[in-house]
């Protein structure tokens, strides 16, 4: 059973949330979900989920994401049940004691730090929930990608702070270990740091906007419909206008004095 209280995996340095005070430039990246026909690459999302589990969830929660909703990543229900059961969900048992139970589909991802007070006691400031992160920063997924790939160990920083080109000084430690040569996804592929950053960013974009594909498909249909309606209503207006003008010549409109 995977322990979620792996907070110790991260250095004991204070991890403060990244507030949108961007210092460096954020370059636009190519994403499958950008553009009017943008869609999610489910394989990439699954990889991103794995990166989240490996590198993010020791500190950051996904408190708005239900396990059941991960079917959007094209994962079978059995696999999702198995995934959920690897998490321990705190609850109060029938004897009234605090306990944990294996997660079920209807649970949200639990928080390794359990609650904001413990997070603050541990890191000085609570690491932000990542469910809506891709929607809550200017630049969205480009911002997250730039931040994740923006660490530079060469810049000296005071104790407990790190250099990041997006924010200059950041309290979130570099999530990437120096040696990742052995790291591989469950399907056996060996991603580069850049690939991992892209995959987890795509996953976080999905957690923030899980119905993006539906909206894009809806948009195509609705806008085509509206364009057709616009053309038809314009032609109808011209026909009506011609008749009204013709009638106006002969008998005029309503009496302005009514």
């Amino acid at each position: 059973m995977k322990s979620i209280s792996a907070a110790a995996a991260v250095s004991a340095a204070a991890a403060a949330p990244a507030i949108a005070e961007s210092a460096g430039p954020i370059d636009a990246q190519t994403w499958s979900f950008k553009g009017p026909l943008g869609y999610y690459d489910e394989m990439q999302l699954q990889h991103g989920l794995y990166v989240y589990q490996t590198r993010c969830q020791a500190c950051h929660s996904l408190g708005l994401v239900r396990f059941a909703s991960l079917e959007g990543l094209d994962v079978s229900e059995e696999a999702l049940k198995a995934l959920a059961s690897t998490y321990e969900i705190p609850y109060i048992n029938d004897d009234g004691d605090r306990d944990t139970r294996p997660g079920v589909l209807n649970d949200n991802f639990p928080w390794a730090l359990d609650n904001p007070k413990r997070a603050i006691a541990t890191y000085g400031k609570a690491p932000p929930d990542l469910s809506t992160m891709a929607r809550s920063r200017i630049g969205g997924s480009d911002y997250i990608y730039a931040l994740l790939t923006g660490y530079d160990e060469a810049h000296e920083q005071p104790e407990g702070a790190y250099y990041n080109k997006v924010m200059n000084v950041i309290k979130m430690p570099n999530p990437w270990p120096a040696d990742m040569s052995d790291f591989e996804y469950p399907d056996g592929t060996r991603p580069s740091l850049d690939q991992q950053a892209r995959d987890v960013t795509a996953f976080l974009n999905w957690t923030a906007d899980p119905y993006l594909e539906e909206r894009h498909q809806w948009g195509i249909i609705v806008v085509l419909y509206m364009l057709a309606l616009t053309i038809i209503s314009f032609l109808a207006y011209r026909v009506v206008a011609a008749k009204v003008y013709a009638k106006l010549e002969v008998e005029g409109g309503p009496d302005p004095e009514h």
Partner: protein, 445 residues
């Protein structure tokens, strides 16, 4: 009207109408009133705004069935209000569409009303006999600003808290009564559960008040009649058409264009017009840079532009009070517009000098919006597709020439000067062009 004969031939309609004469009232208002035949596409925005109000009320009603106005935080540190909004987006069938139709809809409602008001200002639609019509419109604008601010607060994100905190604070600028009003608005000393609950109650109630004012607005319109691009009175039956079918079809076309754009934004850029940081639940810290939604920015600029105190022979008015007064004044002065404009000519088409100052006023509102979005002490810039166009620079010694604040003062000045100086004086000195004798004359000639 009740005494008139039913206009319907269909026996079912006729029978119903003879027992409850509401259908003939609608029929009468659509066919019997004289509308000018020359209304251009700028006149579409009135009915568009009306439809947007209905869209907002409907989408809002269904979201209210799922929304929880509670600041209580769960173990993730996410408050229940924010969570319920996300619940609508994630778990409610079609909820994501409802939410985005509503949040994007607020922006498009404002777009429609802004075009509608500028049209009225250009063609002099506020002048006699349409003063009451204009004033009701101003009341609608102020109600909309209040309602949108309340709705934006309900999300209880970072900007919701900042908005609730800052805007309720504005009322403390009122001498003596200010602190009492603050407690009344907040339901206590702090921005807390009581505030969120009353904001929700008011956000639900006020749109219906708004709808009531809209009905009065339309009743007034039907009494005094529409203005038109020439700004001259209707002279004969040659000048008029009934609303149906001509303007119903023209409005359907206008609505189609408007809704195509609106729905495209919902589909592909639903967050484009909103402040991104409000998608994070509040931690009750004020962010370093607080901005309201775009449609409130010009008024926000006027609010924050005063950084100095005014000493009137010993009576000190603080910068905060000046800002609050100026913001209230910038809205209040709209009510006086029918009497401040002294020109007897309504339409800007026949007022060559007025035209220049009118477009200057439109630019002024855009600049003020940019000022409202930027940081006071820094060099002001215009965002363009090619990058920032700087209108200020650092003069050294910490002094910035052309700072956002300085541009703000300049254009706040123009905003008020337009109403208090330019329009009254212009009417006395401007030589308007020759007005046509009637609407049909230029059309036929």
């Amino acid at each position: 009207m009740a005494g008139s004969r039913s206009p319907f031939k269909n026996p079912l309609l006729k029978g119903f109408d003879e027992r409850l004469p509401v259908l003939r009232a609608v029929h009468h208002s659509m066919t019997a009133h004289a509308y000018p035949k020359n209304l251009n596409y700028w006149w579409n925005f009135g009915s568009i705004a009306g439809i947007m109000l209905m869209v907002m009320i409907l989408t809002g009603l269904f979201m209210a069935m799922h929304y929880k106005p509670s600041v209580e935080e769960d173990t993730y540190g996410i408050n229940q209000a924010f969570r319920s909004v996300e619940h609508i987006m994630r778990d409610v069938k079609g909820g994501m569409f409802l939410r985005y139709l509503h949040s994007v809809g607020a922006s498009f409602f404002f777009i429609a009303v802004i075009f509608h008001m500028f049209r009225g200002m250009y063609y002099g639609s506020y002048k006699a006999p349409r003063e009451v019509l204009w004033i009701l419109g101003c009341i609608i604008l102020i109600l909309m600003m209040g309602i949108s601010f309340l709705g934006y607060s309900l999300v209880w994100g970072v900007m919701s808290f900042a908005a609730a905190e800052v805007i309720t604070q504005v009322f403390t600028a009122i001498p003596v009564l200010g602190d009492g009003i603050l407690v009344l608005l907040r339901g206590g000393e702090d921005v807390d559960d009581a505030l969120l609950n009353r904001f929700f109650a008011l956000h639900f109630l006020l749109p219906f008040v708004l709808a009531g004012v809209v009905i009065l607005h339309i009743l007034t319109l039907q009494t005094v009649g529409s203005n038109n691009p020439l700004g001259i009175d209707l002279k004969s039956k040659k000048d008029t058409v009934s609303f149906h079918p001509y303007y119903t079809f023209k409005d359907i076309f206008g609505l189609s264009v408007f809704f195509t754009i609106y729905l495209a934004v919902v589909a592909w850029a639903p967050e484009r017009l909103a402040e991104a940081i409000n998608n994070q639940p509040t931690d009750y810290n004020l962010p370093s840079h607080i901005v309201p939604e775009w449609y409130l920015l010009p008024f926000y600029a006027i609010l924050k532009v005063f950084t100095w105190d005014l000493n009137l022979f010993g009576l000190v008015i603080t910068g905060k009070q000046l800002g609050a007064l100026a913001m209230a004044g910038s809205l209040g002065i709209l009510f006086l517009l029918p009497w401040l404009d002294t020109s007897p000519v309504r339409s800007g088409r026949f007022r060559p000098v007025f035209k220049i100052f009118f477009w200057g006023f439109a630019v002024c509102c855009v600049i003020l919006a940019l000022v409202g979005a930027q940081t006071s002490g820094e060099a002001f810039f215009i965002p363009t597709p090619l990058g920032r166009l700087p209108l200020g620079f650092d003069g050294g010694n910490g002094f910035v020439w052309g700072s956002t604040q300085q541009w703000g003062v300049l254009f706040t000045g123009y905003y008020f000067a337009y109403f208090i100086v330019i329009l009254p004086v212009l009417g006395l000195f401007e030589r308007p062009k020759q007005l046509p004798a009637s609407i049909s004359e230029p059309v036929l000639a």
